[in-house]
Each structure stands twice: as structure tokens, then as C-alpha cells.
């Protein structure tokens, strides 16, 4: 009697987890396996046209492509900009929202707001803010007397990628602020009280208490920064599309363009496989590294 009941319960449990399992397997995992398989074929994207097995040739083409290295460099710039631009700002904003300042709720809302806005809307807003002929930033820079500065940032081979990292920082600072503000809440108040008794000044408290105790927040930040930079796509796609030329190309834009502009699906799938492996490895390795650091 009990055995029958328990078998029925087991079947019920399996049935309950089945819809999610099937949905995820068919629309997430199956395409993932397809990417790996298709990366070994040459294909022009036309339905019913034959696939031509080429082995690892797509990967060789990928790693021989100069644009791949432009993208790699740009991802590096994204990671650095995260550490130089987003990190200090996010920590500062976190202290603001955790402080006893009046109006901090309003401040927090404004800092976080970009995070919920469509990236395309953000790109459009900044397109106008950075508009070279009479846009607010151009007017500001020229108004301050820097007439010779080339203000066409998004249209410049050299500066486009940096302009994107600034827009990116504007978008994601508020999100990263949350990581650090959660970390700050976890620091018990009496640690600061004890430091105060010992005569610690503001900077000393920051240096010897706050920063060391935010260690896991820094790790979460770094993980998100690295993986987010490797997989960054939308922000570049909507601002410059990887241009001018291929100056601001990232992995995502290369994947997209090779498929839908050049009909070079083999290359795109090789890029897809590379992205899957790279972001998976980055997540696993960094998580493992941090876990080991925790033990020691």
C-alpha cells in the first residue's frame, strides 16, 4: 500500500518538474548543442541548402580574423572600465544609499533607474546627448573653451569604444551599487563602534574595516564584470553596431554580423561556441578561485 502511494508520489513529482525541464531542454540546451555541432559545418543560412562539413576550419578562421582580436581587446577595455569606472562609483553610491543622508531614497532611485530602461532607449538618449553638432555634451565641451576637441565620440575610430564604456557604466553603476550596498548592510554596526573607541578616523575605517569586509562583494562584482564584458553585445550593437569600421567590435556583434550580414553561419556558430565556453569557464574558474580564497 505504502509502496504504491510512494510510487504515485514519485511520478507526480516527475510530472511537476517536466514542463520546465522540457521547455529549458528544447529551447536552451538543444540549441546549445546545435551551436557546437553546426560550428563544424559551413552554411550560408538558406534553409534546405546543404551543410558542408569543414571540421575545425571555422575556428581557424575565427582565430585568424583580425576582428576577433579587436573584439578581444575591446572586451579587455570593458573589463578595465568596469574596474576603473564602475567599481569606485558603485562603492561610493552604495555608501550614499546606506548613509543617513536625507533624500537617499530619491538618490537611490535615480542611481538605479537606468537599469530598468531598455538598452535601445538608452542608446537613443545618448545618441542625442553625444550628438556632435550642438548636442549637450558637445555644447558643454566647446562652451568650456575646448574648441579643438573632436566631439564626435561615437563616430571616432579611437574613442567609440570608450564612449560606449561610459554609457555602459552609466547603465550598470546602479546595479553594482546594489551588490555593495548588500555587502555594507552585512557589516555589523558594533565593529565601527569598536573602531571609534580606538580612535579610528573616517579614512581608516574605510581602509581597515569597510573594504576588507566587502571582500565577497568585490568578488561578486568581478565575476559579473568579467562575464558581463565577455558577453556584452546589446550595448555595442545599439550604439555603434561595432563601428566605425570595426573599431568597437565585440564578440556578440561579430556573431550577429557574420550571420545576418555576411551569411557566414559557420563562423558565427564557432563564435557562439567560443562564447558559451568562455563565459562558462570564466564563471566556473572565478567562482572556484574565490571559493579557494575563502578556505585559506
Amino acid at each position: 500500500m505504502f509502496g504504491v502511494m510512494s510510487r504515485r508520489k514519485k511520478i507526480e513529482a516527475i510530472l511537476l518538474s517536466l514542463p520546465a525541464f522540457l521547455l529549458y531542454s528544447f529551447i536552451f540546451i538543444y540549441p546549445m548543442i546545435s551551436v557546437f555541432r553546426l560550428s563544424l559545418f559551413k552554411w550560408n543560412g538558406i534553409p534546405n541548402s546543404p551543410l558542408q562539413f569543414v571540421g575545425i576550419q571555422n575556428y581557424l578562421a575565427l582565430f585568424a580574423d583580425r576582428k576577433f582580436f579587436t573584439a578581444l581587446t575591446n572586451v579587455g577595455i570593458f573589463i578595465l572600465s568596469g574596474c576603473i569606472l564602475i567599481l569606485p562609483v558603485a562603492v561610493f553610491l552604495a555608501t550614499v544609499v546606506q548613509s543617513k543622508l536625507r533624500g537617499k531614497r530619491l538618490l537611490k532611485t535615480s542611481y538605479f533607474m537606468p537599469q530598468v530602461i531598455s538598452r535601445t532607449a538608452i542608446a537613443l538618449m545618448w545618441y542625442f546627448l553625444l550628438y556632435p553638432e550642438g548636442g549637450p555634451l558637445a555644447t558643454l565641451i566647446h562652451g568650456l573653451g575646448f574648441d579643438s576637441v573632436n566631439v564626435n565620440f561615437l563616430g571616432s575610430q579611437t574613442y567609440a569604444i570608450y564612449a560606449i564604456t561610459v554609457i555602459n557604466a552609466w547603465t550598470y553603476a546602479g546595479f553594482n551599487m546594489l551588490i555593495f550596498s548588500a555587502g555594507l548592510t552585512a557589516i555589523p554596526e558594533d565593529v565601527y563602534e569598536a573602531a571609534k573607541v580606538d580612535g579610528a578616523k573616517g579614512w581608516q575605517k574605510l581602509r581597515y574595516i569597510t573594504i576588507p569586509m566587502l571582500k565577497s562583494s568585490f568578488q561578486i562584482f568581478l565575476l559579473n564584470c568579467v562575464v558581463g564584458s565577455i558577453t556584452t553585445f546589446e550595448m555595442v550593437y545599439v550604439t555603434t553596431g561595432g563601428g566605425p569600421g570595426s573599431a568597437s567590435e565585440v564578440f556578440g556583434t561579430l556573431l550577429y554580423k557574420n550571420a545576418f550580414t555576411y551569411n557566414n553561419y559557420g563562423y558565427s556558430n564557432a563564435m557562439g561556441s567560443f562564447l558559451i565556453i568562455a563565459s562558462f569557464l570564466a564563471s566556473v574558474l572565478l567562482t572556484g578561485l574565490f571559493a579557494r580564497g575563502q578556505k585559506e
Binding site: K9, K10, E12, L16, A20, L23, Y24, F26, I27, F28, P31, M32, S34, V35, P47, V96, L106, L107, T109, S110, M113, P114, V116, I117, S118, R119, T120, A121, I122, L124, M125, Y127, F128, G134, G135, T139, W170, A173, F175, I179, S181, A182, I220, N224, T231, F233, E234, Y237, V238, L255, Y256, A259, F260, G272, S273, L275, I276, S279, S283, V284
Partner: protein, 275 residues
């Protein structure tokens, strides 16, 4: 009153400067949406001298932005509903380890958090083309549900694990089926956690661009992100309608954010700590 030290003043000044940096692009967009073309560029920091409603009528009737807002809502709401039902059932089974390989299953789902969905763009586009799924609501909703499933699963499983087992054990003694427990007991108790998962999915789908841009080609099906992207390429005699379109497409999501602020923030913060 205590006198402020120089350091405190600088600190507050910075807090306000950042406030202005984050708010100005939004302010600029909103005020420009009420201005004429010449006024947009001549008075970039001022309020409009006269409110130009024609920008909005143009955004609604020429651009058709409300249709895009409606589409974004349909996709977001649909995906949210699918995610909520599927995830809650699966998360309960996983949290209580009711089937073998529950641990392996969790790792399997966690994989979805570490991989960018757009890496699978080509097989998914091919699948949609082969099955005739392009420009249809349901396939798109299921795709969005699948993409957002791992994050919600992670959030909701964590929440259910925090619920005492005594409640479901009592229900089992009373002869309640597992399905009954999920929908009558877990669903109401875990609703804060489920809601957080749902709202995170909602935001993600509302703003999604890549899949919508490749899979939706029919103008009547396009979402806000796709429609706004299209505006970038179009030549306008006046920029006002463009700003009005941005405002109309971000206002609904900002309202949702402002109403459920705590949920959105806590959900995103929890999502950052995955792994």
C-alpha cells in the same frame, strides 16, 4: 546643530553630482519630447516654453509606439505567467529533493545562468523559421520563458528552501497531493519570492532586443526595443516624436519599477550572487 566638516560637504556634493549625472539624460529626453526641433537644441537644460503635444500624436500615430508597448507587455506578461507556473512546480520538487538527481538537475539549470542566450541565436532562428514560429506570440513567449527560467528557478528554489517543511508534512498527513501542496500551500507562502522572480523576468522581456529584432519582422508584432532601434535609422524632419516615443516606451516600465522598487532591487541583487 552640528557643524558640517569639509569632508561631509564634499561627500554630499558628490552624491548630488551623481544624482544629476544619472537623471540628466532622462530629464533631457522628457523635456525634449515637449519641445519643437529648434528649441531642443537651443535650450537643452530649460523646460519647454510651450508644450508641443504634436510630438506625442506623431509618436502614437506615425511611429505606432503604443502598439509596440502593447506587444512588449503581451510578451512580458505571457512569459512571466509561464515562468511562474513552471518554475514553482519545478522549484518545489527541487527544493524538497522529491526526485532522484535533484542536485544534478539544479546544476543543469544553473548552466543557463552562465551562458548568454544569444550565443544560441542561429539554431533558435533556424528553429523558428523551420516551424513557422516567426512573428507569432506563443513561440516567442515560450522562448522568453525558457531564457528567463534559470534565473527565476534559482531565486524561487532558494525562497522555497527557506520555508519550513512542517507545513507540507502536515498537508501530506491530511492526504494532500504534491500538486495540491504546490498550488495551495507553497504558492501563497512563497508568493513574495515568486513575485520577485516574475518581475525580474518581466523587466528582462520588456526590454529584450536581440531575439525580438531577429524573429519579429512584422511591424505589428514589433516590441519597443525593436521599434526604437528602427527609429535610429529613420530620417526625421523633427526629433520631437523620437523623444516622445522613448518617453512613451519607458514610462510604463519606470512606473512598474517605482511601484515594486524593493522587489526589483532585491531580485536583481540576489540574481547577481548566483553560482
Amino acid at each position: 546643530m552640528k557643524r558640517l566638516k569639509a569632508g561631509d560637504i564634499i561627500y554630499r556634493l558628490f552624491a548630488i553630482v551623481f544624482f544629476l549625472i544619472f537623471i540628466y539624460p532622462i530629464y533631457f529626453t522628457v523635456v525634449s519630447s515637449f519641445k519643437t526641433n529648434t528649441e531642443i537644441w537651443n535650450t537643452m537644460f530649460a523646460l519647454p516654453s510651450k508644450i508641443e503635444w504634436s510630438n506625442y500624436t506623431s509618436a502614437i500615430f506615425d511611429v505606432g509606439i503604443l502598439r509596440a508597448v502593447l506587444n512588449s507587455f503581451i510578451f512580458s506578461f505571457g512569459a512571466c505567467m509561464v515562468v511562474v507556473v513552471f518554475v514553482t512546480m519545478a522549484a518545489y520538487v527541487a527544493a524538497r529533493k522529491l526526485i532522484r538527481f535533484s542536485g544534478a538537475l539544479r546544476l543543469y539549470y544553473l548552466l543557463g545562468l552562465m551562458i548568454p542566450p544569444y550565443a544560441m541565436l542561429i539554431p533558435i532562428v533556424t528553429m523558428f523559421t523551420n516551424f513557422g514560429f516567426r512573428d507569432k506570440y506563443w513561440p516567442m513567449i515560450l522562448l522568453y520563458a525558457a531564457i528567463n527560467f534559470p534565473m527565476s528557478f534559482y531565486l524561487i528554489t532558494g525562497y522555497i528552501e527557506g520555508i519550513s517543511k512542517e507545513l507540507d508534512e502536515a498537508a501530506i498527513v491530511d492526504g494532500c497531493s504534491t500538486t495540491g501542496i504546490v498550488f495551495r500551500i507553497i504558492f501563497p507562502i512563497a508568493s513574495p519570492g515568486i513575485f520577485t522572480g516574475a518581475i525580474i523576468s518581466f523587466l528582462a522581456v520588456y526590454n529584450e532586443l536581440i531575439f525580438a529584432n531577429t524573429l519579429l519582422t512584422n511591424q505589428a508584432m514589433k516590441t519597443i526595443s525593436v521599434r526604437l532601434l528602427g527609429l535610429q535609422g529613420e530620417r526625421f524632419t523633427s526629433y520631437g516624436p523620437m523623444f516622445a516615443s522613448i518617453v512613451l516606451s519607458i514610462v510604463p516600465i519606470l512606473i512598474i519599477y517605482l511601484i515594486f522598487q524593493e522587489k526589483v532591487e532585491s531580485g536583481m541583487a540576489a540574481g547577481a550572487v548566483k553560482g
